[in-house]
């Protein structure tokens, strides 16, 4: 498992029904591209987050395929419409098979 990986999400705790809210996410990750070589000249193996998804009450909000050119600590900011109270579930998929999850509840104000 890549070291020092920590997912972070900033989401509002409350929203009006039907309101569009902004979600900010960041995961600390080295995002090693697999293109670099170390001092001995051997390739440093690729280690990136290759997929990021967000679901709201089981329904897909965003599903992103990520590539090696994305820089360290990938940050995503996007908007979602909140039709009802529920939970946002965020999932990051690592090359090494690790899955990192975070969830945020939104109440209807």
């Amino acid at each position: 498992m890549a070291e020092g990986v920590k997912p972070r999400v900033k989401a509002p705790k409350k929203a009006a029904a039907g309101e569009t809210v902004t979600l900010k996410t960041l995961i600390s990750h080295k995002m090693e591209s697999g293109q670099r070589k170390n001092k001995d000249g051997s390739v440093i193996p690729r280690s990136i987050i290759n997929r990021f998804t967000c679901e709201f009450n089981g329904k897909s909000v965003i599903d992103v395929t990520m590539e090696p050119a994305i820089s360290t600590n990938p940050y995503f900011e996007f908007e979602a419409t909140v039709p009802e109270a529920g939970d946002f579930k965020f999932t990051w998929y690592d090359d090494d098979g690790s899955v990192y999850e975070e969830s945020k509840s939104v109440a209807i104000a």
Binding site: R8, K10, K24, L26, S28, T72, N73, Y75
Partner: protein
């Protein structure tokens, strides 16, 4: 942000040299919607005749870079702050102590510290900046190894300690025991060096607001340091930045951690007296 074509700036600079300062924008900086940052202030008395107003480098960056600093979630330097907060509570060295063992909660104990540094340390009889003070604690109180100057952990800690003083006015003492060193720093600031024959003042006092090739010159204030630079995606300390600047004049640089750079850090910090502590900031 106000954009003007290069030629227009050059023409204006020729006809009305002082107009260049209009090129800093008039946005206001509030971090997390609550910490109000003073980014423009009347120049401290010792700058009489040199500058009327001191301005944070924040005004010289574009809107997207500016926005990254307005929310800690968007500020990549806060990852370093988080890392340092862990170190703060981690025991290291032979004495079995962490920073927290003596200093408790960093937000309480370190509030206002950055605002007055670099400053005179009476017991040691020398001027110290934050990194020197950290190492004094590490070696003499914790029995741990000193951090190398500008080591990752040292810059992270500098960011943490700075972050808890955000919004407080920079108030670095320039008289008394520090005066000799301050004078030395001032002399360095105004001395032209390198193949390009530039002093700090050539760019940051006489030409701030103008473009130097693709770079928008600021006043070179360090109230926002340590700074997260997008160009190399890591923290830069004031002395690390000085090294880059001196190198750019094509001179042999001083070493970060040297007495000369400490003098310059003290002097440049005092040029920002009246601005808010803003670091860790985001710049390009």
């Amino acid at each position: 942000m106000k954009f003007k074509p290069m030629s227009a700036i050059a023409a204006l600079a020729l006809s009305v040299p002082t107009f260049a300062m209009a090129d800093a924008d008039d946005d206001t900086l509030v971090i997390n919607g609550e910490i109000e940052i003073v980014t423009k202030a009347p120049a401290p008395a010792h700058l009489d005749g040199a500058l009327d107003e001191v301005m944070s480098g924040w005004h010289f960056r574009d809107d997207t870079t500016q926005a990254m600093e307005m929310d800690d979630f968007d500020n990549p330097a806060m990852l370093n702050v988080e890392a340092a907060a862990e170190v703060w509570n981690t025991v290291d060295g032979s004495e079995g102590k962490s920073c927290a063992s003596c200093h408790g909660d960093v937000e309480e104990s370190m509030k206002g510290v950055k605002a007055v540094y670099p400053k005179w340390n009476e017991a040691a009889g020398e001027v110290r900046n934050l990194q020197m003070q950290f190492n004094d604690c590490r070696v003499n109180r914790m029995g741990a190894d000193a951090w190398k100057y500008d080591a990752g952990a040292a810059k992270d800690m500098e960011a943490l300690v700075t972050s808890v003083s955000r919004g407080m006015p920079v108030n670095v003492a320039i008289d008394g025991p520090v005066q000799a060193m301050w004078e030395h720093g001032k002399e360095m600031y105004y001395t032209r060096t390198g193949q390009l024959d530039l002093s700090c003042a050539s760019c940051h006092e006489e030409n701030y607001g103008n473009m130097i090739r693709a770079d928008h010159l600021s006043q070179g204030q360090i109230n926002g340091f340590p700074v997260y630079r997008l160009k190399n995606s890591k923290l830069t300390s004031p002395q690390g930045r000085f090294k880059g600047c001196v190198r750019d004049t094509r001179a042999e640089t001083y070493k970060p951690g040297s007495n000369d750079f400490l003098a310059l850090e003290l002097y440049v910090a005092s040029r920002g007296n009246g601005l808010s502590v803003e670091g860790p900031s985001v710049r390009n």
